[in-house]
Structures are given as structure tokens and as C-alpha cells.
Symmetry: C2
Subunit: 214 residues, 2 copies
DNA sequence: AGGTGTGAATTATTTCACAGCG
DNA sequence: CGCTGTGAAATAATTCACACCT
């Protein structure tokens, strides 16, 4: 079976985002052309992306919005609730916990952890910050499978080893450092410094840039 | 002149990150092999990336750490101070303003803006949150060239038009929506929902995934 | 007509492999 | 030697273009 590229998955996520909009507005069908325009890609790309997973469209008509929305949710695995822990009770952790889209898409934060004893026990939304020592048993009890890592780089790898040992199978890493995970664990990293430096590069070397957008 | 891919620039940023570490530790040279290992890429990739910009290495020896660090900083445009405004005085804005790497790499926040009258005037670090109406004249006076957009999707495009009109030439967008900018403006988007959904997809379709890492 | 689905062509990116220099 | 720099080869991603359905 053919492998799906990361870039494809990101676009699926974007299609879903806009299809939901269209669905709410009651639009029945959308063409690859319209979807491409909304998402800043090309009609051929839209059709190719979707065709990996089936034939959802009707020739001459376009894609049924409501139906395709459901399909994409299924494909992306959003048909279930995902339990998420946040490791690191700092500003980034707070921003994420607050993030509306989080809950909206079926991601539930079941615990926030910090290694700083001063933070442990302080209120955090409806709950309180917990100690790292509790993490392993909590994850097992709650059945959390995703962790958001919002900690400094210093001992990021040690923390990763702990949470992987606890049974976490996917990690969204905000620490600006390279971490490694076993093959059965998925890892995505978001690196602010890298993005900012990309902009700095673009401003400095306008003529060398691939394209102006992202 | 050959165009530089975005992926290349991201790796340069990563090389810099680790070269700085090595430099601090007093290591004089580093081979493409060592660098690749630290950054999770391949030696050939490291050499190809660097060779776009010059011949920095010595055959049989490797790359001079201190010198290459300086070169990369220059290439990435980090030789100067970049003035940054943050639009949206919420949690994400706060997390970013707080981010150490920000200042460290020569990015200075010169203003924080919000359209909510209740937030305008409230303290923000050493400064206070300012009104959107002040943005255009402030940007011109301060010479800010980068904006971080940490606002809801609703009227993101209108805000973009305003800040582009004010003279901002690079935008880091955290709003989970597609925005368009004129060709002379650089845009990078970070989309939490997309990352999370990528993990959800990976957990759901383990066998379809391109690779386990990022 | 109007718009999907898809093999084929194109373009971009990564990896190979080796000549050549210190 | 050891390791860079780089064309050439391999792979991956995107775009084209058109047969085909409604």
C-alpha cells in the first residue's frame, strides 16, 4: 500500500477546516477548484490528495461537502476522542490548553505536568498541575496517547524517554531540540526559532527564495 | 541564481543551533557526519546544503565550528536586529514574547497590539498593550519588519492587510486560516490543529505513514 | 457543459558515489 | 588516509492533460 506524505496529511487537515465552514453555511457541494482556492493550493492537488483515499466526488458536480467532511474526519482519525497530556506548565502549555480548536476536534487534555515543585499543585483550569512522578501511572489509568512537550531543551530527551515508557504514542514537541523516539511513536516538532529564522532569511535574501508563501 | 528550498533553510537553522552548542563547548571542527547525526539528517544533505552558499569545510578535517557559525548567522540574516511586533495579546502572544530564543537571536519585540479595548493599556512586560489604531504609525517610526499574528481566524485577513499596508514585510501566522499576502511579503504559518491532526492520522493509520519522525 | 480520477510528464529534493584536496 | 564538494542517479511531490462520467 502506498505511503502517504506528510504534506498530503497537512492538506487534508486544511480541506477539512474549510469544508466544515462550507458545511455550516449549508453549501452542498464544492469543486476541487473552489477547495483549492480556499486552501491556497491547486485543483489537481486537491483531487490527487483525495483520490488516495477513495472516489468521493461526482463528475460534473464536485464533492458533496457534508459527506466529504465526514470522510476526512474518519481518515484523520478524528472519529474518536484523543486524550492528551501537556508536559510543561509554562506559557506555551497554557496557550495550548486554552486553544479552542483543541477540544473542538476531539482532543481532551487529561493532565498537565511540571517538574518544578513550585508549580505542582497550582490551579490549572478545572484541574491542578501534577508532578512528573505521577505521569506514568496517570497515563496508564487515563489511557492518554498524545503528549505535548512544552519544556526547555535541557532534559527534553529524558522527559521523552519517560513519557514513551509510560505508553504515549505521539508527541508534539515545542522544545527547540532534536529528540529521538522509537519507531512506533510519532513525532512532530514545532520550532519557533526555525520559523523566525526562515523569515529573517527571506527578508535578507529575497531573490533566493523559493516562493513567498507558506 | 538557484532558488533555495524552504526545507534547506530550516536545516541551516538547525545546523546553527547545534554549531553554537559545539562552539560554546570549544569544539574547533565538526564533520558533516557529526552535524548530520546531531540534527537527524544525512552527511550528504549537510554538505549539499552548505555548498549552496560556499566552501566552508576543509577536506580531511571537517568544518571550522566557529567560522561556520558566523557564516550561517550571516546567511540567515541574523547579523542584524529584527524588530518584531506581536498582534494579539492573548496566551500565544504571551508565550512568544516570553520565548528566550527570540531575543537571543536578535529579534526584539517593539510592540504588542490588540483590538480588544479591555486589553489596551494593560501592562505587558516592560511596556503596555497598544491599540490597533497606533500600529501603522508605530511600525513606521520603529522600523519593524516582522509581525507575529496571534489572533483568531475571524478577521485575520483584514489585520494582515493593515499590517502589510503599514510596511511589515514578514509574517509568522498562528491563526488557523489561509491568508494571502503580496509577493514582496514573506509568510509562514504555524497551525496547531494541523499538527495535532497529523498525529491523530499517524496513530490511526500507522501503516500508511511516510516515516515516524519530524 | 462541467468537473472528477488518474497515468504520464515535470519539477523538486534527497541520496549516491567518487574525484580531489589537505 | 579522511572528509569535502559536486555531478549524476534515484526518489518524491506536483502539475498536466485528457478519458470518462453525470
Amino acid at each position: 500500500m502506498k505511503r502517504i506524505a506528510d504534506s498530503t496529511v497537512r492538506r487534508l487537515s486544511m480541506y477539512l477546516r474549510y469544508l466544515e465552514d462550507l458545511d455550516t453555511r449549508g453549501q452542498a457541494t464544492a469543486s476541487s477548484d473552489e477547495l483549492a482556492h480556499l486552501c491556497g493550493t491547486t485543483p489537481a492537488q486537491v483531487r490527487k490528495d483525495l483520490s488516495f483515499f477513495g472516489s468521493f466526488g461526482k463528475r460534473g458536480l464536485g464533492y458533496p461537502v457534508h459527506e466529504l467532511t465526514a470522510h476526512l474526519r474518519e481518515i484523520l482519525g478524528l472519529g474518536q476522542e484523543w486524550k492528551v497530556i501537556i508536559v510543561g506548565a509554562g506559557k506555551i502549555g497554557a496557550a495550548l490548553a486554552n486553544y479552542r480548536g483543541f477540544r473542538q476536534r476531539g482532543f481532551t487534555v487529561v493532565g498537565v505536568y511540571d517538574s518544578d515543585p513550585a508549580k505542582v499543585g497550582t490551579p490549572w483550569g478545572a484541574s491542578t498541575v501534577r508532578a512528573m512522578q505521577d505521569l506514568t501511572t496517570d497515563v496508564a489509568r487515563e489511557g492518554a496517547s498524545i503528549a505535548v512537550l512544552a519544556i526547555p531543551s535541557e532534559n527534553a530527551q529524558a522527559v521523552v524517554d519517560t513519557i514513551v515508557g509510560a505508553g504515549i504514542r505521539a508527541i508534539l514537541n515545542f522544545a527547540p531540540t532534536q529528540i529521538t523516539v522509537p519507531p512506533h511513536v510519532s513525532l512532530k516538532s514545532v520550532n519557533m526559532a526555525m520559523e523566525l529564522e526562515g523569515l529573517s532569511f527571506a527578508l535578507t535574501n529575497a531573490e533566493l527564495i523559493d516562493q513567498g508563501a507558506a
